[in-house]
Symmetry: C2
Subunit: 311 residues, 2 copies
């Protein structure tokens, strides 16, 4: 039984409509006149972060990735519950708490409770975070309502976190301190697009956060909605820092759209809809299925890996 078979077994016992068939990043439940939006993500040392990672960055990312799931539903974060599996290392724990404080202050979301356990000898540090939010609108975006003709948009720039990871692991380097710092920060301190998600959620046909790579995540919307999504590589927004380090050619752009960990919002909307914040149109939905990639009007082959595949 691999991970997907295991997930299938869990799906078989997860029949409540609020669970959305485990096909979404969040659970959603009507509660009074509002909707509760709930998500839970785990991070394990040696799997999701390196042993020598800055503990404050680990804490920040744990909060950010969960809030990013809420952002994609336009949900206002209400609170967090932390499961903290400790091993040895007082300084590590103290630095984690410091990073957690920075994140909850920055994102204005309270830590409400949780559990602390000692993991036992030789075990990896293991953390879980539950984020609970509130969606007020009538429409909470899914991945399945994109229609042919709808435009595909992203917030911010794509590829910075991937470039930062390359710097962090020594695979790339820049002589420019400001560029290095900016890209590293995109990797270590992702910013969930909570305000943007709330501004957009009642206007879009689909929305999700880009965690595994723009192409892979776009292909998920295409599949769930039963449309073909055409991405124009030349239109994908790159930061000045990314371009300084990697250039702006097709190879650099393919790195950006398959790198992942962007935590930008990817959304579709009718082209007539006026969207209230700055976005970049990176493609179009068409009748059909799957993903196609174009650049300056020319069709490109899809790369072998559309993104980072994990469970």
């Amino acid at each position: 039984m691999n991970e997907l078979e295991f997930i299938d077994r869990l799906k078989a016992i997860t029949t409540h409509p609020a669970a959305r068939g485990l096909a979404d990043d969040v659970a959603m439940m009507p509660f009074g006149r509002h909707k509760l939006v709930m998500t839970h993500d785990m991070m394990v040392e040696g799997v999701h972060f390196l042993r020598d990672a800055d503990p404050a960055d680990v804490a920040w990312k744990l909060v950010a990735v969960n809030l990013s799931d809420l952002a994609a539903k336009g949900a206002k974060p209400l609170g967090l519950l932390l499961g903290y599996g400790r091993t040895s290392g007082d300084r590590w724990d103290a630095a984690f708490v410091e990073g957690l404080k920075q994140a909850i202050d920055r994102f204005a979301v309270p830590l409400l409770g949780g559990d602390t356990v000692a993991m036992g000898e030789g075990a990896p540090r293991t953390f879980g975070l539950t984020a609970i939010g509130e969606a007020k609108g009538h429409i909470v975006p899914s991945r399945s309502d994109a229609k042919p003709g709808h435009a595909v948009y992203v917030t911010g720039t794509i590829g910075d976190a991937w470039a930062g990871l390359q710097i962090a692991t020594g695979l790339l380097q820049s002589p420019d301190i400001e560029i290095t710092a900016s890209l590293l920060k995109a990797h270590t301190r992702p910013m969930p697009r909570v305000e943007e998600g709330r501004a957009l959620s009642n206007l879009v046909s689909t929305m999700m956060d880009v965690s595994d790579g723009l192409l892979l995540d776009a292909s998920r919307i295409a599949k769930a909605s039963g449309v073909q999504i055409e991405i124009d590589l030349a239109e994908v927004p790159l930061s000045r820092q990314f371009q300084s380090l990697l250039g702006d050619d097709q190879e650099a752009r393919l790195k950006a759209v398959t790198g992942g960990d962007d935590y930008q919002l990817l959304l579709t909307a009718s082209p007539e809809t006026v969207l209230p914040i700055a976005l970049t149109c990176v493609g179009t939905c068409r009748p059909g299925s799957g993903l196609t990639l174009h650049s300056h009007g020319e069709r490109l082959e899809l790369p072998e890996h559309l993104g980072f595949v994990h469970i």
Copy 2:
């Protein structure tokens, strides 16, 4: 920095009133006209369950201990989010899912979502569960409102889970199959008192679940409320099965009240309050502080350990 110092650091950044200063088992937050009650507990292989434990029992207990926290607040469970840290072992995972299904069916609470991760080589299985519930009444019981003169009650019987653990670990045995099975089940398949909690929550002055031992948990109510609690050991309800195996003397009763894992409700209420379900009065709140133990009118020394102390 030990666990308590670490918790103190977390408390310092946990200032939202919904967190109740991390002094309670749950977080509680007004939501529309209702109250959201949230709890998160972790279980780690080798720490909270044995490597040879039945995976279905592990799943059941993970659900039961979280629902027991909701029960103590009179909250109706709305849903669960599971964090599942896998290692090797397909049969293990399949049996866990089966036990999870038994628990969510039995307690009528849906699994809503969560996360699955591969833990990496040699790591212990690590699970987290978030339970979310809804408290409807105006009064959600805390631990701090017991008053001198209030009576102390428990649901069900005390000590069965402890006796079952002794059987499971080979320290005790009974020639009677029915007794063995019944006590083992109290240990492996605890029953959270959800319905009882909902029936009681608006009538009690304090309520909590007995997880660490009746005496230890009663001492926590005494401390939080600023009262002395006098427990009458002779009044503590023991099951027929417990008495058959361990007898009914003072030594057996001391085992029962310090053993823990009962997941019964411990509560205080004005003696005039008519409580709608069967309970056993096991003591009284008096002016003063701390815990005293009596039996047939005679004061006893407190045992060295009041229960199972952990974080």
